[in-house]
Symmetry: C2
């Protein structure tokens, strides 16, 4: 475990008991009563709150113009059982969980709910051992790059965001125009541009017009990254 | 506002724009469009997550033996609209909110939901200005003393906790015995002691047997504050 953490994340946990606790399920504790072990649930309680804050702070600072409702939706897309269990698998955390025999036979090691718990308890242990900055570094390795690679895109409606941002100071025309259809018939692609007040702000491609429009809106949003709205 | 914060909490916020934002409701922004103001909601989003973590960490470390389920219930008792709006009033935050005229007439200044938001947004501003340690200090002034004064006691079942802690290594008899009824007929009081394995561990008084038992259990729990279970 320590070798893997060092190799993959440049993390060295100094308190090994904490790390053991974070990867031990109650079923294992019950089968080894003589060893006076602890299971992960308390550390998971803490790790859950740490992840909420670290993700909240990151998107709060990165998306300066995103209103609260959309920050809340984006956080919910990032902080949930599906994404955390995916991260746990990518980090190979499933290989290190200590399970009782019955849980092992029941394939608990592949259960999303357990993997999500373990991801949170690992973060709790990292936080207790090394503080928030270490958790932030870990999130920059594991979670935040997924924002750019599009893992949460289905929860992230760029067209709505562009509308909110561009029309903050009053109504302005936002139009999407199909530029081109291309590619073979069985793999048709669309290219769409977005115009704000008749000026081109972005262009995007996708397998559907909807996807191309989202990409175009995403590109246009880069023009609004500063707090200066006088670009228009 | 700054004078009050300095006097009551020894807090000096260096970024005044942040503080203004934290205490400004959307209705006020709408009535002063020329001033290019921001309202509190984004900072509240962050403050909410900060409070979740700071409270979680405090109870995680203070109640070393409390299992996850009870930590979660205790946090829910501390982190909610009712308690946060109470804290906001105690801090006199209601006097500093900037509201639009309609909201003022509708008594929004006394609305629990708004006061809860403002408590969170103040914490968000404090966090952005000075970091987590400053928020912890503020919580030690405003929230955590309430644990000792009993504000959250109705959510905190000491009898169940004592049972969980005392029986961790196996079954042991826990008995509550009425010692005495005292006081005038219209203000009857009860004194109850708790015995663990026939040894007295605590005594409590209350206006009902149930209340006296809770107090006795709370006192008994002090014997289990260390991780050494061999006291029995």
């Amino acid at each position: 475990m320590n070798e893997m953490l060092k190799r993959d994340f440049d993390i060295t946990i100094s308190n090994n008991d904490l790390l053991d606790e974070a990867f031990t399920q109650a079923s294992y504790v019950n089968e080894h009563k003589d060893q006076n072990l602890k299971f992960y649930e308390r550390i998971e309680f803490l790790g859950d709150a740490v992840l909420q804050l670290v993700v909240s702070e990151y998107i709060f600072k990165r998306y300066e113009r995103l209103p609260q409702g959309r920050l809340t939706r984006l956080r919910a897309a990032m902080v949930n059982e599906k994404s955390f269990s995916t991260f746990a698998r990518e980090c190979h955390f499933n290989e290190y969980i200590r399970l009782g025999k019955g849980e092992e036979r029941a394939n608990a090691r592949d259960r999303d709910s357990l993997l999500c718990d373990i991801f949170e308890s690992f973060v709790g242990a990292l936080y207790l051992d090394q503080g928030k900055a270490a958790v932030e570094k870990f999130c920059h390795q594991v979670i935040f790059p997924k924002l750019d690679s599009g893992m949460f895109d289905e929860f992230f409606d760029h067209k709505t965001e562009l509308q909110e941002v561009a029309q903050e100071d009053g109504p302005v025309a936002i139009d999407y125009e199909l530029v081109e259809e291309f590619g073979p018939a069985n793999d048709q692609m669309f290219r769409v541009k977005v115009l704000i007040a008749n000026k081109e702000f972005g262009i995007g491609e996708g397998h559907s017009k909807k996807e191309a429009e989202q990409k175009a809106a995403q590109q246009a949003l880069k023009h609004f990254d500063t707090s200066n709205m006088n670009l228009l």
